[in-house]
């Protein structure tokens, strides 16, 4: 099943870790009631995607490493997203004096 691997760690092991990290992030994103924890779950999901990109770039695309360039762009976008997300969170907190996700339902029909 795990034949053809270069080193002791097969590619699939990295993919399994990344899949688990991604699913944990999705669960936290759905179930967190604290808005800061939602942002933390998004960061977990982005990290899972980065692990996938890096492992593919190392095992399949070892000489051109496009995956590493992509993961650098993902890191950049994640930093911008965290900054804007936390700023939105601060201004929400200033207006509603709560960070409970269930109370942010102004646009709900």
């Amino acid at each position: 099943m795990f034949e053809n691997s270069i080193g002791p760690v097969p590619l699939q092991a990295y993919l399994i870790v990344a899949a688990f990290l991604f699913c944990t992030g999705v669960w936290g994103l759905i179930n967190s009631r604290n808005a800061v924890r939602v942002l933390m779950s998004i960061e977990l999901m982005l990290n899972a995607v980065n692990i996938n990109l890096m492992s593919f770039s190392s095992y399949i695309d070892g000489s051109i490493i496009r995956g590493q360039v992509f993961s650098i762009f993902v890191i950049t976008v994640a930093a911008a997203e965290a900054a804007v997300g936390l700023a939105i969170l601060l201004s929400l907190y200033r207006n509603r004096v709560t960070i409970d996700m269930e109370s942010f339902n102004l646009l709900k029909w």
Binding site: N4, V17, C23, W27, M54, T76, V97, D100
Partner: protein, 200 residues
């Protein structure tokens, strides 16, 4: 199996167990400050995985950006909004959690099946190892130049947007303060709407 192989295997096992346990703790712990610090631990472990994959530049960027910037930003946000509040109980919370847990584990099973069953095209071309940093630089200044420049514009926009969003809209103009000092009554002093909430 020689020493380097087993060392790499042990490193991978330790790092992946840190990632799995840490991410579960980030999502499940009650205290959000513990979650934030454990999130930093998860980021460090992911950087360790990048080192195992011969990507020292991305590992350094991961530590600098995630642990140094994003995690600190999250800690700042926690400190700014950290108020002990009783969350209102909502009906069916337990069912909701179990249902979403089932959906997420189904997604996990699907992803695991895909990643194990698919015949990946390995071994690919030989890894260039420590020359990866040079190659990333070549990529960034030749074929990925446009995304690189767009990333700088994106960062500038995010910075300005964050400042505009998080700015406190209290207009303490010097003229008003002077008027207040010159003996006008307290009721005439304008108290902006936003600060009323924050004073509570």
């Amino acid at each position: 199996m020689n020493l380097a192989y087993s060392a790499e295997l042990i490193c991978f096992l330790i790092l992946s167990s840190i990632i799995v346990a840490g991410s579960l703790a980030v999502v499940l712990l009650e205290n959000i400050v513990y979650s934030a610090f454990l999130l930093g631990g998860v980021f460090m472990a992911v950087a360790g995985l990048y080192l195992l994959l011969n990507a020292s530049f991305v590992a350094a960027a991961q530590i600098l950006v995630y642990v140094g910037a994003v995690n600190v930003l999250i800690l700042f946000a926690i400190m700014l909004v950290n108020k002990k509040e009783k969350l209102k109980p909502i009906e069916g919370l337990k069912t909701r959690k179990i249902l979403s847990g089932a959906i997420c584990s189904g997604l996990l099973v699907l992803l695991l099946r895909v990643s194990i069953i698919t015949k990946w095209n390995i071994p690919g071309p030989a890894s260039i190892g420590e020359k990866a940093t040079e190659r990333i630089g070549e990529h960034l200044f030749t074929d990925y130049l446009l995304p690189f420049e767009l990333a700088s514009i994106l960062l500038l926009m995010a910075m300005i947007g964050a400042i505009v969003l998080a700015r406190r809209d209290i207009s303490n103009e010097p003229s008003k303060i002077n008027d207040f000092n010159n003996g006008k009554s307290l009721t005439e002093k304008e108290i902006p709407l936003l600060s009323e909430n924050t004073l509570k």
